[in-house]
């Protein structure tokens, strides 16, 4: 799906054949390059200040050397911001701010000089202009990526030991979905293509929306989306393909949910869980269990069944005093 690359998502197949989406390194890659570039500049300005001053045509001024040294220290600051992954989104903007300072200082140097020094200052000015353009590009890109959050897309796949016909039939009855999608409370079919979905939200609340099937190709694909005006805009596709050698069916699910604003975004988060990507992996494991064995796998340590979130806080593997199946 082309969407994957534009959203900076690439897929990694995990061990059960379940695909996970991870962020593309693209924008971070440029930010990292700029980080190392800043570090190089900073160190050069500090370690070989006089040579840099000569190259820039400002080796005649004591003030210029001080300004250069300050710029060197500042560059190292940019590097620190850019090379720490969690702050990398902001990093390029700090560089743009620094570029403006450099342009002003070099512009002044250019105006006050003549001859060879003026020529060198001019070249420096041109180089700074180029760098500023790259920094601006990186900044805008990083910011845009931050807005188009990767939470908008999740996908997964699993192989099940059932025919395509069986798997399609099971999935086509959307009322089956809550059997393995834990965040859903119910899906009620309200028309030939329409259904009403209800999902658990924190504090005992529920989020509801209407969905319609927009495309269905028997034994191949089902595509659905929430109807216009839904509080939780989302859409999904499930595809069915024969596994190699006729050994079962490969099921691939893609979920998309537009995140236009913060308020709706948080509703989406409530409806799809805190980590939709993780949730979809759990959902597909449970789907495999239900369609192959007819039941969800439960142990004494994990009585509610497969869930990466609860896996860390297991009960001891001993019978439970009172247990009601959720």
């Amino acid at each position: 799906m082309t969407r994957e690359t534009t959203m900076g998502v690439r897929s990694v197949t995990d061990n059960l054949g379940i695909q996970r989406a991870t962020r593309d390194q693209g924008p971070e890659g440029l930010a990292r390059f700029l980080g190392w570039f800043s570090l190089g500049l900073g160190v050069t300005a500090l370690a070989a200040g006089s040579r840099v001053a000569r190259a820039a045509g400002v080796d005649d001024s004591r003030t210029a050397r001080t300004v250069l040294r300050a710029a060197g220290i500042r560059e190292i600051g940019h590097a620190a911001v850019l090379l720490v992954p969690r702050r990398a989104g902001l990093g390029p903007w700090t560089r743009v701010a620094g570029d403006v300072l450099d342009l002003v200082a070099t512009g002044r140097a250019y105006r006050n000089r003549s001859g060879e020094r003026r020529r060198r200052a001019g070249l420096t000015l041109a180089a700074l202009g180029g760098i500023t353009a790259v920094d601006l590009y990186a900044s805008v890109r990083a910011t845009r990526n931050r807005r188009g959050s990767p939470e908008g897309f999740a996908h997964g796949s699993v192989t099940v030991n059932r025919t395509r016909e069986e798997v399609y039939r099971f999935w086509h009855d959307l009322e089956n979905l809550p059997r393995f999608m834990y965040h859903l409370q119910s899906v009620i079919t309200t028309g030939p293509r329409r259904s009403r979905w209800s999902a658990k939200a924190p504090a005992g609340r529920t989020v509801e929306w209407e969905a319609e099937i927009v495309d269905e190709r028997p034994n191949e694909l089902i595509r659905w989306r929430s109807v216009d005006g839904s509080r939780v805009p989302n859409s999904g596709t499930v595809r069915f393909a024969p596994a190699a050698g006729g050994n079962g069916t490969e099921v691939r699910v893609e979920l998309e949910y537009a995140v236009p604003g913060r308020r709706v975004g948080s509703l989406v988060a409530k409806a799809f869980g805190e980590n939709p990507q993780q949730q979809i992996c759990d959902d597909l494991r449970r789907f495999k269990q239900v369609i192959e064995t007819g039941e969800l796998t439960r142990s004494d340590g994990t009585p509610d069944g497969t869930s990466i979130q609860t896996q860390a806080k297991q009960r001891p593997a001993r019978p439970l005093a009172t247990y009601r199946i959720a």
């Binding site: 495999k288 064995t293 340590g301 994990t302 009585p303 497969t306 593997a317 001993r318």
Partner: protein, 391 residues
């Protein structure tokens, strides 16, 4: 009910725990009549298997009577049936189960993601064998819940005593599969490292598959004596004799056709220095398993022969003799036993009197005394080879 629980490394205790209930349609609850302590339980006791929790009920070798059955059991099981239960929990419906690879069932481990982190893919869930293997309560207890009972529980219809059929749950199929994986052919010479219950049954099975000569290697004279007297094997005490030299001598230089590692991750070595090397790496977690037997099995095996690794390993090993393995065209096969595949045919052999698995039992005790059973089994006291527990 009473159940034997893991408390901390080197500590188990019989505790009062709630009775198990049916959680799923295909479940059964079995009232245990006999259970046993397995050599692999000692890895749990020693703290070498990760993801154990205080209070986990242990035990994966057990049999008994069905006292409760879920509404979805498929295979004509009834309340009151006498059953032996295989240790791997297997759904019977996934592609692996349908290929007969029950111990790598794709659905029975609800904690698959933990196992995948450690192992790449997850094996099946196992009764009483850590949260890595699903967090299932085990059978060293008065009652036990058996998921997918229609796949895991084998009905015993004639009056064979528990002692003859109990080991269908694990060690007999495990020993048999070791010989089968070794591709033992009529006339073969088979060497087996480890004279515990699995090694003993591997020796018996190798003869059943036509081996001409079976050599069992261990360091405890009483275990070697049982291998000689009951399994008909020749023996080597590795603390007294050099194993590689002796095997070379016995086969006039060729080496055994099939070498079986029935020791696994907590092996010992006659050289104190070599043992200390691996023990130290294990202590600082630079390797998790001590593969003395596996290394020696590879070096001993004849060119083009097969090494069958049935002893349990949990993580990573060190100094794997890859050069010897590769240059001499060896084959290595391994796996937890696909017990459900072997239960019926081996029951048939027991019925016909071809095998009497009860010869490995040295101790029978009450469930209350389980901690003592672990103690003597671990420390090889009182000539202990197999402990059977009676609730």
């Amino acid at each position: 009910m009473k159940a034997n629980c893991w408390v901390a490394p080197n500590r188990v205790a019989v505790e009062e725990v709630p009775d198990p209930k049916i959680l799923n349609p295909r479940d059964a609850v079995v009232k245990v009549t006999s259970s046993a302590i397995c050599g692999s339980d000692l890895h749990l006791l020693d703290g070498f298997i990760p993801a154990m929790k205080r209070g986990d009920v242990l035990g994966h070798e057990f049999m008994g009577e069905i006292v409760e059955l879920g509404p979805g059991a498929r295979d004509g099981l009834r309340v009151g049936d006498r059953v032996v239960v295989g240790f791997p929990i297997a759904c019977g419906d996934c592609a692996s189960c349908q290929r007969g690879l029950y111990s790598v069932c794709e659905n029975s481990n609800p904690n698959a993601a933990i196992a995948e982190t450690a192992m790449g893919h997850t094996p099946a869930g196992i009764f009483g064998y850590s949260h890595l293997m699903g967090g299932y309560a085990g059978g060293q207890a008065e009652y036990v819940r058996v998921p997918y009972a229609d796949v895991g529980a084998l009905k015993i219809e004639d009056g064979l005593p528990d002692e003859q059929v109990l080991f269908l749950s694990d060690v007999l199929p495990t020993g048999y599969m070791a010989a089968e994986m070794g591709d033992v052919k009529p006339g073969d010479v088979v060497a087996i490292w480890g004279a515990g219950p699995v090694g003993q049954f591997a020796a018996v099975s190798a003869f059943l598959l036509g081996a001409e000569q079976v050599v069992v290697i261990d360091r405890f004279p009483y275990r070697l004596r049982i291998a000689r007297d009951r399994a008909g094997a020749e023996t080597i005490n590795y603390e007294e004799t050099d194993v590689l030299d002796t095997l070379r001598e016995m086969t006039a230089g060729r080496g055994p056709d099939v070498c079986i590692d029935a020791v696994g991750m907590e092996g010992h070595h006659p050289s104190a220095a070599l043992h200390a090397y691996d023990r130290a790496k294990q202590a600082v977690k630079a390797e998790t398993d001590r593969p003395h037997a596996l290394r020696e099995a590879i070096l001993a095996c004849r060119n083009g022969g097969t090494v069958s690794a049935i002893g349990a390993y949990g993580g990573f090993i060190d100094k794997f003799p890859m050069g010897s393995f590769m240059n001499r065209s060896l084959t290595l096969r391994s796996g937890q036993a696909h017990v459900q595949r072997y239960m019926r045919p081996l029951l048939e052999r027991i019925r016909k009197g071809e095998i009497d698995p009860s010869f490995i039992i040295t101790h029978t005790m009450r469930l209350d005394d389980t901690p003592h059973g672990y103690d003597i089994f671990k420390n090889k006291q009182d000539d202990c080879l197999k402990v059977v527990l009676k609730p």
